[in-house]
Amino acid sequence: MADLLLELFSEEIPARMQARAAADLKKLVTDALVDAGITYADAGALSTPRRLCLTIDGLLDKSPDLTEERKGPRVDAPEQALNGFLRGVGLTKDQLEIRDDKKGQTYYAVMQKPGRTASEILAEVLPQIIRNFPWPKSMRWGSSSLRWVRPLHSILCILSAEDGAEIVDFEIDGIESANLTAGHRFLAPQWFSVKSFAQYQTELKSAFVMLDSEERAEHIWEDAKNMAFAAGLELVEDSALLAEVAGLVEWPVVLMGDIAPDFMNLPPEVLITSMREHQKFFSVKNAKTGQIEKFITVANRTTADNGATILAGNQKVLFARLSDAKFFWENDLRIAKAGMDVWADKLTNVTFHNKLGTQAERIDRIAKLARELAPIVGADADLAAKAAKLAKADLSSEMVGEFAKLQGLMGRYYAAEAGLPDEIGAASEEHYSPLGPTDTVPSAPVSVAVAMADKLDTLTSFWAIDEKPTGSKDPFALRRAALGVIRLILENSVRVDLLKWLGAQTLAGGGGAVDLDNLLSFFHDRLKVYLKDAGIKHDVIDACLAMPRNDDFSLLVNRARALQGFRDSADGENLLQGFKRANNILTAEEKKDGVFYELDPEAKLAEDDAEKALFSALDTAQPLLDGAIKAEDFTAAMAALAALRAPIDGFFEHVQVNADSEILRRNRLCLLNRIRSVMNSVAAFEKIEG
């Protein structure tokens, strides 16, 4: 048993690639070892900005010996066939065995393949893995032919056991594997030799390298939190930034600095975004006021002045950055207070899409749709139209020009500064939502109207120019828009026959015709995915999609939820079987006879008690069902169906449909048809699998 330690030491690896690369390295090497017959106990991968590190414990020293047999030609086969076989296996004729086979005497080659040492195998597979490593982007350097994410400088590769460590010998493009590594670039750049992982990790730590990115992240997080706490403040959580920063340092030193008072009236989101995007700073806020008062930066070293110079430098850079932000904010406020007309004008010059005109034209369409949607979602029509007009004005602002991710939010600040009603600001912030299956859905009526109008305009416009998503390509995020509309409707219980409603609107830029039926089936596809995640099976959805008014998604989903609940109950299961039995018999007989048994069955022809009971159960259920469906109370409708279960079961148990009397037979087939049509008035049961 031996332990492998591999370190690939390079120039700085982009932070976002480190974790994935370490995981890939582990998988590639362990897979290759297992393929070659070397098992292991445990493997781990670590990374820093300058190193990828792999440890594999408890490796077999050798792969097992193998015996390989190959069947050759028959003894009486022509000479050429035998020669070919000998060349293939690399043996001479006298080394072959002759065995009796079904077809006569046949040559066999029996080859002993001795196991190979782990070291030999590693020396063979590692160069291949390194040469073909799956970096998202790789490069060449100097005169090398090797590609790596950045220049690769050294390879440490040892197998260590209790009796010492040996170097796994290989060479790639002039880099020879060795047992050496170096410490921190500035704090301990000396090279030292490595005997085991434990010694490697300990010695690296005294050479100012924390090998484990999680340890670095934890260290940063704890120090940052404590510093903020000691100042009576609170660290703003940002796990993505934490992971990134942990990938930029080998020896994290957390420093907290001040934000000059000049910037205190900037919105906190602006401070957070500017500091994060440009400087990779964490924000520290005053929990009482919500104001960002300090920043935290993470240096890659200790200094004699405890980071004072570094902090001063960072503060200076931040001052320049925030001066820019403040300049944008103040310019924007002037325009906001004057009513944002300048911004709206600017959007007349911004192309939305070369076939769909300008942003301004698009906004006009959205405003019209929002006005029409307002009564449906319970919003004031004028307010909704005005909100839609202003919702994207901030796209022209300097702040959003600098930080695109602040779109909408800045609109809310500017609307407030302009003295506009809060509904308008809220619509500006919320109308992009929901951005995915888990994002928050707006609920304020004006926001809902604008959000729906925005997405519906996008969808109908791209449908009009036939730019629909294909396969994995969805450059205009139309799937997301459709899901957004669905979630806005469902989560706000909006009632609208969407297809009918869209048909009555003036739609789409460029004036092209919109294939609304096609768009509806696109919505239905998104709805299926969405409902599947909510536990509603595809056949249940199909059973509801086949019903009338399937463009009213609230109605559709109410039906589907009730049906799924019913389907999952014992009554539902049995009734479904009854339905299938009725449907199968009926379909078969109709086909055979070439007629449809669609007449009302006559109760007076019922002979058997079970048959009479079914008639009376259907008579009782019918008005209940009609009422429930009219009231769109599908739970009640399912309850009414449940009452049919026992009578239908009883009917099939005691009554023979294909009676000798043709009159009785026809009446009973019509009775089956009645079962089918009663059930199909609730949902298309024939679509349900079972």
Partner: protein, 310 residues
């Protein structure tokens, strides 16, 4: 990295002089700025063209760079339409290029023991030159002080071997080293000289003049014509037969053609600053300049300096 920290420089020009000395000592040919208007040091043929082909190369130089859209009439503390870049190009990139680079920071008075130097991912791409590379922006205490790139492609050609390119934004770097908050306040020459000049004494007025001209006065019709002329001339030079009828020698005029490419690129930047190029047209113009850059690269690799057999 055992160098002891250098003394603090006292002026903008001292920083430039120290970089010149440092890179001269480290084996670079110290070249002079290219005598044409360019947007960045990369455009100098000592970088763009010399990064192509297999001949070793090592050059360093200051390059005045013009970005008309960045003009702020000399008011902004660090934005200028005319500024200086310091550029180093070494082919093949030496294995110790990072250390050499850190040595240059030390040479201009950045004490490695007190500052936090970081290599932060930043891939470089020049759509107008059809060039890209991987590397970093180098941060000193959170400020970007240089761009560090391993060239992978220029003018559509793979770089073999790969050149290492270093670009220092001189004003910003110098402001940091000298502790100045507004570029115009920065000492240009020795602050104790008999005639001590600040950056503003040298450039404040020109920033105003060029900002006005770039944004409002430059004649767009003339510029559009210049663009077309440069494009046509570049193409004509490239199309001229290689054999010179006067001398009978094979003379491929890669550099004169490339001058026209540079000219077209700068005229495009001016048109952009004048705000007469729409978003869609922008891409088309960039594509036209790239096509010229590619022609010039294709021509250069057929020359001796470009690695072709003589």
């Amino acid at each position: 990295m055992a160098q002891t920290a250098s003394s603090k420089p006292r002026s903008f020009q001292e920083i430039i002089l120290r970089l010149q000395n440092y890179w001269a000592e480290n084996g670079c040919a110290i070249m002079q700025p290219y005598d044409m208007e360019v947007g960045a040091g990369t455009f100098h043929p000592a970088t763009t063209l010399r990064a192509l082909g297999n001949k070793p190369w090592a050059a360093a130089y200051v390059q005045p760079s013009r970005r008309p859209t960045d003009g702020r009439y000399g008011e902004n503390p660090n934005r200028l339409q005319h500024y200086y870049q310091y550029q180093v190009l070494i082919k093949p990139s030496p294995p110790n290029l990072q250390d050499l680079y850190l040595g240059s920071l030390n040479a201009i008075g950045i004490d490695m023991e007190m500052h936090d130097i970081r290599f932060v991912e930043d891939d470089w791409e020049s759509p107008t030159l059809g060039a890209w590379g991987l590397g970093w922006e180098v941060w000193c205490d959170g400020m970007e002080v240089s761009q560090f790139t391993y060239f992978q492609q220029v003018g559509g050609h793979d770089c073999k071997p790969v050149s290492g390119e270093l670009t220092y934004g001189l004003e910003r770097l110098a402001m940091y080293v000298l502790g100045v908050d507004h570029v115009m306040d920065m000492p240009f020459n020795d602050p104790d000289a008999a005639i001590a000049l600040k950056y503003g004494d040298v450039f404040k007025q020109t920033e105003q003049e060029y900002s006005r001209w770039n944004f409002d006065v430059a004649d767009t019709d003339t510029l559009l014509q210049h663009f077309k002329d440069a494009e046509a001339e570049c193409q004509r030079i490239i199309d001229t037969p290689h054999e010179d009828p006067k001398t009978g020698a094979k003379i491929i005029m890669a550099h004169p053609a490339y001058d026209q490419c540079i000219k077209a690129s700068h005229v495009f930047n001016l048109l952009d600053a004048r705000g007469v190029i729409s978003v869609t047209e922008r891409q088309a113009y960039i594509g036209r300049v790239r096509a010229l850059a590619k022609l010039c690269a294709d021509a250069f690799v057929q020359t001796e300096a470009g690695g072709a057999a003589p």
